[in-house]
Subunit: 504 residues, 2 copies
């Protein structure tokens, strides 16, 4: 292995430069979504495109390919589980993937996405789909072009799904979704046949300042480190890693609703705990970050739902919440509050949907993405197709596009395809991982009921977070749970929790 | 001129990429000084270094030199005043300058400066000069190295002074400073022989929110466009251009002092008005930005001092201020307030110094810089040399280094040399330009007294702002005032204003 050490150092230096450019781009994107004045939009889009194009150029440099080739004997000499082997493998996977797309194309896509985001942010409150339609048409074109750079796919969405969730494709997602759907729909029907839970206690006036303070206190207890992160406000909450030691979250606050800011805070904090927990020696390499969108989402949903929508969590925190908002909650019982935050209903907005109906929202988007990519659905017909799908699957119709096909930022700030399946994969995985955690550490539920999260956080860090992208999603799932993706723990969790709530 | 158009387009494309990298770096620096959590510091320093190194590499690419050479016949065919000719000349100046310094050196310097800034931000409140000393020693080394890349200088500080203030060098600055000093010192002595003005009215409690609101209202009237900018809080106020259409300012607020936030706001707004006023067709080129530090500072001082510390300004705004802070100012007369905001005293902090003594603070720093660069003053002896200079020139001594040599960020966030002269050059130029403005538009003073700034803003935009870096500082001064740098209008301004205030 003469020279392997030097070559690895050179590879890491090159990867570090790429990671710096990507981190810089993340800073620009964060600023664009939080503080940037509108006048900055056009230069910002171009700046981000320039950075991503350079990152892509530098990553796909032939010298990187050569280093990867040269390092193959070194990889072969290492145990499979060695960090260097994992780094080289992960870099190779990404290299093979990224060399298929020209950097100038990526730059175009980013610049277009950045423009489209600005238009969407203005057009959405005005319910003006027509205004954003030509931009979205171009996005669809670019998305198809992007997919076409990858050869040998079965479905045109497969390359895009694979970018987000390694190992998955349209057919496998459709299979999982069909199975889940067949079990979910009867559950939704049984529950929604009952009277709606009363959630008026959540629809009072809650000062922004107090809401943010309460949320921050909770996520600090989860283990989110504010010395290596911060929380700001935005239109559409997200988590972003700006560099190792700088993992930020955003939220939005509605003063007339308690649920919005609080659950988006615990959700994004879940993403952030994953990123903050990655082995710090992976900084500046492709290993430094969650392994797939689905696994990432499993962690946001773990902390949002399995923890902070659980009965145990509120046994500890409800008195504190009552103390923070005495006028609002003094005379509301824990039972009433718990039912309110887990109210199941056929609703219009994905991000506000309950756990039981949530996946139906995702499935609608996933199918619409596939249809657009297949060329079966034109962008101009998207608003009506959206309404029709909601009517069919959830029995309701939005009065406008604000709460229809313009509600989610994703298509308007990136590409179309492979974007939504991760939400449901994440829900499934959250329960699959959590049940393993509880098997290993049976005290976790009772600790949560005492406002203690150290055992859960430590188990997740040990088994998932620290590994970053060392293992692919299928490898990690197998490693942690001893089997592949499995909807049973998730359905069990829903049946048990909602069975109790609705005395099924 | 066959091909000149294509070559110019190629040059502009290359310059645009450089400008995007510099703009991105400005976003990172802005974030570092406003919102970045401490954990982000080390990655951030590296990211900024990577960006600046790439910008430098791309700008100094031999292809840029070739394009500049190829474009010489085109330049020769154009009128001197043509924008293309100016662009090519400005690019050539910068190219000749920047090709002398290796990109890797620039990257080192930026990364070191970024680390040093973090250390300073922690060490300063702890009055711990020892902690920052080794960093500053390295900064001095790097500053000397940087100067040495440029050949043929008379004084080692000359290249660094020239970077900031084209056309100036140590000997010419020393000459101007000596002349100014000989007139300032007697004025300071005459004024400080009188009883101190009473400024207790400024030292009451002023809510942060109200202070910021008042400042924002004023600078909006100046013409600062919040759609293309914003204001945030920081340790050490600055203005920064993040891209065309995004020119931000920062301030710091002391609730026990009215002057801090307000005058730093009008000061930084002055810088921002200059940048917001540059001809938008210069975006993404070396013409897009103020032409020198001294000329830039002339604009911040115009709006901070000549406008917002003038009697006329407060004839209009004092009633509004009294309305915003009735408890504090209801029973304070305009005369008392005006004397308070123009209190002359021998003080420790440059940024809080009055107009009359301010330049003595600058001269101390300028001489200390020269001595450090000359090797006559070791960094370890800087604290004491600072105290000795203040004792000699201002008759006072700081009780610590917080208010001594650690008060200004400059040496701790960049290099040593060429950093401070611009403040005094700016003061001189502010009066020189302003007197021309009033000559051209005699109504300006009476308009200011009615809270109207349109004539002044329009004159400055027409004569200075729009040109960006089209003219070098000496060219611009000559063009606007018909002569070179001249201290007479500044001394006249001081003598007239303070003669009236102190009945001299």
């Amino acid at each position: 292995m003469a020279g392997a050490v030097e070559k690895l150092v050179e590879l890491k230096n090159r990867l570090l430069e790429v990671s710096d450019l990507e981190g810089a781009s993340a800073v620009l994107a964060w600023d664009q979504s939080t503080y940037m004045p509108s006048g900055g939009a056009s230069a910002r889009g171009r700046q981000m495109a320039t950075l991503m194009c350079l990152a892509q150029e530098k990553f796909t440099d032939a010298a990187v390919g050569q280093l990867l080739d040269d390092l193959q004997p070194y990889v072969a000499s290492l145990p499979d589980d060695h960090d260097d082997a994992a780094l080289i493998r992960a870099t190779q996977r990404r290299y093979q993937r990224d060399t298929q797309v020209p950097p100038a194309f990526i730059a175009n896509l980013y610049e277009h996405a950045s423009q489209t985001y600005q238009i969407w942010a203005e057009a959405r409150p005005a319910n003006d789909f027509k205004r954003v339609q030509p931009y979205l048409e171009r996005t669809l074109d670019l998305s198809r072009q992007m997919a076409e750079f990858y050869t040998g796919y079965e479905h045109i969405a497969d390359p895009l799904i694979g970018l987000a969730d390694y190992g998955m494709k349209a057919s496998s997602v459709r299979r999982v979704f069909a199975e889940l759907r067949s079990q979910l729909v009867p559950l939704v029907e049984t529950i929604t046949a009952q009277p709606l839970a009363d959630d008026t206690c959540l629809k009072q006036n809650f000062s922004e300042h107090e809401q943010l303070a309460f949320g921050r206190k909770v996520i600090e207890r989860f283990g989110y480190d504010f010395n290596s992160g911060r929380q700001d406000k935005t239109h559409h909450p997200f988590m972003t890693k700006l560099g190792s030691g700088d993992v930020r979250i955003t939220t939005r606050v509605k003063e007339n609703s308690f649920a919005e800011a609080f659950f988006s805070t615990t959700h994004e904090a879940g993403h952030a705990l994953y990123e903050q927990g990655v082995n710090p020696t992976y900084a500046g390499t492709p290993l430094d970050g969650g392994t797939s969108n689905g696994v990432h989402e499993s962690q946001s949903r773990t902390w949002e739902n399995l923890v902070s929508r659980s009965r145990g969590f509120w046994e500890h925190y409800y008195p504190e919440l009552q103390h923070a908002f005495p006028a609002q909650f003094k005379s509301v019982s824990l039972d009433t509050f718990y039912r309110a935050i887990n109210k199941v209903q056929r609703s219009l907005i994905r991000t506000e949907a309950d756990e039981v109906t949530y996946n139906l929202h995702v499935m609608i988007r996933f199918e619409l993405e596939l249809q657009m990519l297949e060329g079966q659905l034109a962008v101009k017909d998207l608003p009506e197709a959206w309404h029709a799908a909601y009517q069919a699957d959830l029995g309701i119709r939005a009065p406008n596009d604000i709460n229809g096909c313009m509600q989610d930022v994703h298509w308007y700030g990136g590409h179309i395809g492979g974007v939504f399946q991760a939400y449901t994969l994440g829900n499934i995985l959250s329960a699959q991982f959590f049940s393993e955690a509880v098997k290993a550490q049976p005290a976790i539920p009772s600790e949560i009921a005492q406002g203690q999260f150290a055992s859960l956080h430590a188990w997740l860090k040990e088994n998932i977070y620290q590994h970053g992208s060392k293992y692919t999603a299928p490898e990690l799932i197998e490693r942690v749970t001893g089997r592949g993706l499995d909807i049973d723990p998730y359905m069990q969790y829903l049946r048990s929790k909602y069975g109790e709530l609705y005395q099924l």
